[in-house]
Every structure is written in structure tokens, then in C-alpha cells.
């Protein structure tokens, strides 16, 4: 059923009784051309683009929980393409371009809101690093502006300019960055993929990968064996566990990242802002909640929950940036499992098993990447070669030294 103003009106007059399900709940078939492990944003987008761009529609997504129950359902909704390195920037810009036309394309309002992303800087060295990054963006034709302190003050007059431990000196601004209603992305891709014939199989946990004669032939699941010609892993925080079923060990550690939402407030902050003197970023949702987060808890975890010490660090940084937050109350905190790669950048690549494809290592940047990740992964699966904008996101780059290390932190997962 196509969503439109007309359909909304027609259904309103019929008591909203005639809306049809957004997706089917199919029983798994015995085999598919492609099986995708993971019904989160990346898996759903991959299936959508496989069907739409490559005509491969005999596809199943197997998801152990509910559709969109991974990090697409628990992130802080930011989109941006303000990356430094040539291995990243073209990919994230492609993603932002896809975001810009996504809703009309899949006929679902995901509230893509390009309200701007500001990265504050507090020192000369930080300004220089942001200048370098902004120029890398401009080199690729991406919008970026460098604001001085007064430029920031004009946009955000209520930040702490006068009494701060680390005074705000300016910011790097990407106006095309912003936020998206995260669940709606999963629903939009899921509905679109389903419409083109993709089977989304929820509550179906992969328990094994069958490898015969050096090829993956299917997955053992809680709902039986499902065969496939090509197997694609998009399991985010659980990537290592799934890859281990095929005997692979990845350059990945799973870490917990917490995020937070405040009580609903009348419009308070209109852009996305990241603090430069501590780990903190914030935006305000269309419902009025301030959505914010900070750094990893730091330890390996699959638990989707964090601890109080990190909560305190995040809030301290937030208040250092915006004194008026003092009486604002946090409503809820939660945790997601991050597939932290050893250089902070993702992997979209083939594996030593020829028909097994891998999509992981998103660290905490996976949400904004959803469209391009799906697009490039679909391309890789369909053509057996990397998409040009993801050509550096290789699995063997660690062994060969072609790292994509935006911050130069090195081979320690929790520093990225």
C-alpha cells in the first residue's frame, strides 16, 4: 500500500481499519540466492538495494530478534559526512546523498532533518585538525564551514563562553548533517524490501554456518537449515560470534556505548553539536527529547547496558558545554553493542571463503552509514567486487597496513 496524503485521508474516513501490514511474516524457504544474517539497518538496506539495484529478489534476511532490533533501534540518530580520510569521506558522502532522497524513494517518512552538525573546537591544535578535516571534505565537494567563536555564539548563544574550563574557540559546521528518525529507517527499508519479495524472517537465530568444499552453503538456524548461494553477514556487534561459525577471527572487539534521552522539552537546541573538550554530543528530536551520548564504557561487552561512571562523564561534558542543562532531567539511558574495529573504520569485503561476504566494524558510526553500507554491500554481493566508494574498506588492510585511522589512535579498539 502506497503512503500518500490521499491514502491517509481515505483511511481516516474508514476509521484507519484498512491499513495493511508493512511487511509479511514469511516462513523461511529452504534456499535463497542470498541469505543476509542480521535484520538491522545494514542488513535491511542491503536486501533493499540487492532487490532494487541488482534485481536479486530471492533474498532472505534472518534476524534473531525483531526487525530493527539492533543498533538501528538504539542509536542517537545522527547523519553527517564530515570525515577526513579518502578511505572514508567518499563513502559517507555517498551515504548522505542517499539519505537526501531516501524517503521519497522508499515512500516512508524517516524525518531526515538536515539541521546541521557542529564540532566545537577549544584549542589551536583542535582548530587545525578540524581545518584539515573541513578541507578534506571540501576537496571532495562536500559542504563544510569553519566558524569562529562569534559564529558559534550567533548560532548557540546559550553555550558556556564565559565561564568554561575549556573555552569554545569555534566549530566546524556541516549544514547538510543532521538527524533521522532511526526506527523509521528500518521500517522503510524493511517495507520496501518486503514489497520487492525479500523474506524478512524475524525471531530466527543463526546457530551455525555450513561450509562445504570451501564454500558457505547456508545457515543453521533456530528455525532449521536455510541454504543459499551467497551468504552475507551484517551482524554488527555480534559479527565476531557469527564469523566464528565460519572459522573466521576478525579485527573486532565488541564494546558497549551508552546513549541517553531527556524528558520532552520545547525546542531547546536546533542543531547537532559535539563538544571538543570531552566526549559529548547532543541533538533534539522532533518529539522534544534531547538525545545525547559520549564515549564507550571502555570494556568488552555484549550486554547492551553500561555503568554509572560513564554516565557521569557524559553528563559532566554536557553541562560544561550548556550550563542551562543543569535542571534538565535525563529520562532514559541505554546501551548498544559496538563492533569496534582496530582502526575505527568499517569493513565491507569478501572473506577467505569465496561466497561469504562481510559487513562489520562500524564502531559507533553505523547509523549514518546505513544507506551506503547497504548500497555497497549489495554491490559487493551482486558483483563480487567492492564498490568504488568502499574500495579501501578491506579486510586485509590490517595485515597490509592500509589502515583507515581517522584519529591515529592505533590498534586499540576502545580508543576509536
Amino acid at each position: 500500500m502506497r503512503y500518500s496524503v490521499a491514502s491517509l485521508i481515505a483511511n481516516a474516513f474508514s476509521g484507519n481499519r484498512n491499513w495493511t501490514p508493512a511487511w509479511r511474516e514469511p516462513e523461511p524457504k529452504s534456499r535463497y540466492d542470498v541469505v543476509i544474517v542480521g535484520g538491522g539497518g545494514h542488513g535491511l538496506a542491503t536486501a533493499y538495494y540487492l532487490a532494487r539495484e541488482h534485481g536479486i529478489r530471492n533474498v532472505a534476511i534472518v534476524e534473531k530478534g525483531w526487525l530493527g532490533s539492533g543498533n538501528i533501534g538504539r542509536n542517537t540518530t545522527l547523519i553527517r559526512s564530515n570525515y577526513l580520510l579518502p578511505g572514508n569521506e567518499p563513502f559517507y558522502e555517498w551515504s548522505l546523498k542517499l539519505w537526501e532522497g531516501l524517503e521519497q524513494e522508499f515512500n516512508f517518512n524517516a524525518m531526515v532533518s538536515q539541521r546541521g552538525v557542529l564540532n566545537l573546537y577549544h584549542s589551536d591544535a583542535q582548530r587545525d585538525a578540524f581545518t584539515r578535516r573541513g578541507n578534506a571534505m571540501r576537496m571532495h565537494g562536500v559542504d563544510a564551514e569553519l566558524l569562529d567563536r562569534e559564529g558559534v555564539r550567533r548560532m548557540l548563544p546559550f553555550f558556556d563562553y564565559d565561564n568554561a574550563r575549556f573555552p569554545i574557540m569555534g566549530a566546524l559546521l556541516q549544514r547538510r548533517g543532521g538527524t533521522v528518525r532511526h526506527d523509521a529507517v528500518a521500517w522503510g527499508y524493511g517495507r520496501g524490501a518486503d514489497e520487492m519479495g525479500v523474506d524478512i524472517i524475524q525471531h530466527c537465530e543463526v546457530t551455525g554456518i555450513r561450509v562445504e568444499n570451501g564454500r558457505a552453503t547456508g545457515v543453521e538456524t533456530s528455525r532449521g537449515f536455510i541454504g543459499c548461494d551467497r551468504l552475507a553477514l551484517a551482524a554488527a556487534g555480534n559479527s565476531s560470534v557469527v564469523a566464528a561459525m565460519a572459522g573466521l577471527r576478525l579485527p573486532i572487539e565488541s564494546h558497549v556505548l551508552q546513549a541517553f534521552v531527556s524528558e520532552g522539552l520545547k525546542p531547546f537546541i536546533d542543531t547537532v553539536v559535539t563538544f571538543g573538550a570531552g566526549h559529548f554530543y547532543i541533538s533534539q528530536s522532533d518529539k522534544g527529547g534531547l538525545v545525547f551520548g559520549g564515549d564507550l564504557d571502555g570494556y568488552n561487552s555484549y550486554a547492551q547496558r553500561g555503568n554509572l561512571a560513564t554516565v557521569e562523564h557524559v553528563f559532566e561534558a554536557g553541562l560544561a558545554m550548556i550550563p542551562g542543562l543543569s535542571r534538565v532531567k535525563a529520562l532514559r539511558s541505554w546501551g548498544g553493542v559496538m563492533d569496534m574495529s582496530m582502526d575505527g573504520s568499517p569493513i565491507i569485503d569478501k572473506t577467505p571463503i569465496p561466497n561469504l561476504y562481510l559487513n562489520c566494524g562500524w564502531c559507533y558510526g553505523g547509523f549514518k552509514a546505513t544507506p551506503a553500507s547497504g548500497w555497497c554491500f549489495a554491490h559487493l554481493i551482486a558483483r563480487d567486487e567492492p564498490h568504488p566508494v568502499a574500495r579501501e574498506m578491506r579486510l586485509d588492510r590490517f595485515a597490509r597496513g592500509y589502515l583507515i585511522d581517522e584519529n591515529g589512535r592505533g590498534a586499540q579498539a576502545n580508543l576509536h
Binding site: S240, A244, D297, A303, A309, N414
Partner: protein, 95 residues
């Protein structure tokens, strides 16, 4: 687990006192091993990253200054064992 850590030298201490390096590699080549030994790459970059029990390197920087091996469950966050890493290494556990 990660709210309070039972340091073998200092007793129960809050997480903020520690620096966490990450998972203990599965193996590490001996000092002076040839640079083409694949174990080097594996020790620096590859992680088993199991769901469940694992070992991590924690440094008690605001306490005794000792590196610890924290063995714990990364799903329940229960701590099973915290040991002095050097003592372990001297006992032959070199990872």
C-alpha cells in the same frame, strides 16, 4: 563488574581508577621472533571476541600501578578473576 573491580593489591576499587586496554590477545610471539611470524599480526589485530567469558588487560593507574588480567563475563558483567598480569606472565602466561 565494571562499577567496582576487586584489585588483588588494593581491594574493591571504582572503575574510574583503571585504564582498560582491551581483550588479551590469544597468543603473542616470543620477543625477538622473526617479523614475518604471523602471530605478530594476530596479537596486535585479531580478537576472538567471544560472547561470554573473556580476559582483558586493565591498568590500575590511580591505584597500585599494576597491570591486571580481568577475567569476566562480557554478557553478565560478572568478574570471575582478577590477577596481577606480571605474576601470570612469570608463571608462563605470556599473552
Amino acid at each position: 563488574m565494571a562499577s567496582l573491580i576487586p584489585c588483588p593489591h588494593c581491594g574493591m576499587r571504582p572503575k574510574e581508577e583503571f585504564t582498560i586496554r582491551g581483550a588479551v590477545p590469544d597468543s603473542r610471539p616470543a620477543w625477538g621472533a622473526p617479523i614475518d611470524d604471523p602471530q605478530w599480526f594476530s596479537a596486535v589485530y585479531l580478537r576472538t571476541n567471544p560472547r561470554g567469558r573473556l580476559r582483558e588487560h586493565w591498568y590500575h593507574g590511580a591505584g597500585c600501578g599494576r597491570w591486571l588480567i580481568v577475567e569476566r563475563d562480557n554478557l553478565s558483567h560478572a568478574v570471575h578473576d582478577v590477577a596481577d598480569a606480571r605474576a601470570r606472565a612469570l608463571a608462563g602466561d605470556r599473552t
